[in-house]
Subunit: 292 residues, 2 copies
């Protein structure tokens, strides 16, 4: 199986390297060509466009920033659709609109190809270690075909349903991450304003019904005012926009998620767009009593 | 050490039994006297009032419903203050106002006694198994004295600070439980409205940054429409009232917690006060698209 890889960012680069190291014939493309160099040195073929990647590959993996970027890579000038051969599969691992994935799939089906949507969670560390969680929307046959590739990039691979359902599951993930984080920020602020040692509070409660990944991992960083990004405010905002659009589409009011989105807008206004999401604690501080 | 125990409800009864079984001389009082019978049969002494419990005990444990109940047991007619001997310690394991604990402590200090506030989490199962998390506000000396009793009732015992800080930590616990639950309810509703299998979604995301006790334990119950109470809406509302009062006191706005409180008011209005808190899912359903 010949594999193409488009988008060698902080996530895509280590993912592509795992595929190369697993012995696949790999063709790569990236807007910033420097990021392809070490992969080419290690044996990958450099393509000059997404169309050329498609021409050389049976499976084309994409992982770029947002919905318009995926649309450009697939349907734009010299895009995947300009080079793709019958029977190929595009695997989009970006986090984008579920509706857009279904529309791209329809275009690919017209030329006897198909799309798999497979957004990931686990961050750059998960990408480096090959331990990503991969949430897959796909036809059964397509999933069977690309599963060996997922297995070199991730450790939890879930077939969530047909095309689009990978993205919908990722959006559920972002709802949970956001609202859980809000609870952590409120608890830390409440503790500090009452002269409780937040670190002691976290230790006391994290093993029970109050426990979460967000509390165990980001609670202590809030307490130490460590806002180095695990996941950046600007990226969460992009995902919460997708959540809001999809929620509106099915008429589900998302009260907690909506509040986090507005507070993260405030974080951006305060100049914290490139800080870690745990800066939510500082946003709450800015609207409460400032001296505690 | 002679121990008194006041309040033999769903939590207090198994806690008192652990103390009796650990070999302590135990005196008990409960408004509904029937709930004392098996303990008396097993060797406990029955008292006719909180004052009589205090007279017979070095350490008096209380676990009742709400702030006025604790105040009545301590300061009311035939209350603990009417019988307590110098040097005794009152250990209140109810979840009540931190401020009220400090006021009761001041009254006890006037008669050369003191108060320890030690609310718990872990539910009736934790009480039965002696595995409660106990969040303690106390002077060092008092804590050392009562620690052997905590060790027969709980498995995680944390000294959170001076009197009142046990309650403040418990309120942080309830903020976390509430807001995390809101995220779970929104994710489950979003999934269902989009024809995602919520059970598959939960499995896909629960091991990562979206994970929480609430998601792993209450998410699947929402998905199965199982609203049997682990923790009842009415009891959460009592705790959220305490959280709101304490948050107002230090001017910390609690946006997520406030929304959960209002949605739980809606749950009560819909007749679900005695259902489990995971009914939040149904409250969201009632304000969204009803046919999905």
């Amino acid at each position: 199986m010949k594999v193409g890889f488009i988008g060698l960012g902080i996530m895509g680069h280590p993912m592509a390297r795992h595929i190369l190291e697993a012995g696949y014939d790999l063709t790569v493309f990236n807007r910033t060509v420097q990021r392809t160099e070490d992969l080419v040195q290690a044996g990958a073929t450099l393509a000059s466009s997404p169309a050329e990647v498609a021409l050389r590959s049976d499976v084309i993996i994409t992982i770029v920033s947002d919905t318009p970027d995926v649309e450009e890579v697939v349907s734009g000038t010299d895009g995947i659709l300009d080079g793709i051969r019958k029977g190929s599969v595009v695997v989009d691992m970006s986090t984008i609109s579920p509706q857009a994935e279904r529309e791209l799939d329809a275009k690919l089906v017209e030329v006897d190809c198909s799309l798999v949507d497979a957004p990931v969670s686990g961050g750059d560390v998960g990408a480096q270690n090959g331990t990503l969680a991969i949430m897959v929307g796909a036809r059964e046959g397509d999933l069977t075909r690309v599963m060996p590739l997922f297995e070199v990039m991730g450790s939890t691979i879930t077939h969530c349903g047909p095309v689009g359902h990978g993205q919908l599951t990722k959006l559920c993930n972002q709802i949970l991450v956001s609202v859980t984080l809000l609870g952590v920020a409120e608890a830390v602020r409440f503790a500090e304003a009452n002269n409780l040692d937040a670190a002691v509070m976290i230790e006391a409660v994290k093993g029970g019904a109050a426990g979460s990944w967000q509390l165990a991992n980001l609670g202590p960083r809030m307490e130490k005012c460590d806002y180095a990004p695990g996941f950046m405010v600007d990226l969460l905002q992009k995902d919460l926009r997708l959540v809001t659009e999809a929620g509106d589409h099915v008429s589900v009011p998302l009260l907690g998620t909506g509040i986090v989105r507005q507070l993260m807008t405030s974080a951006q206004a305060l100049g914290w767009g490139r800080e870690g999401t745990q800066i939510l604690d500082q946003v709450l501080r800015s609207i409460g009593k400032s001296d505690v």
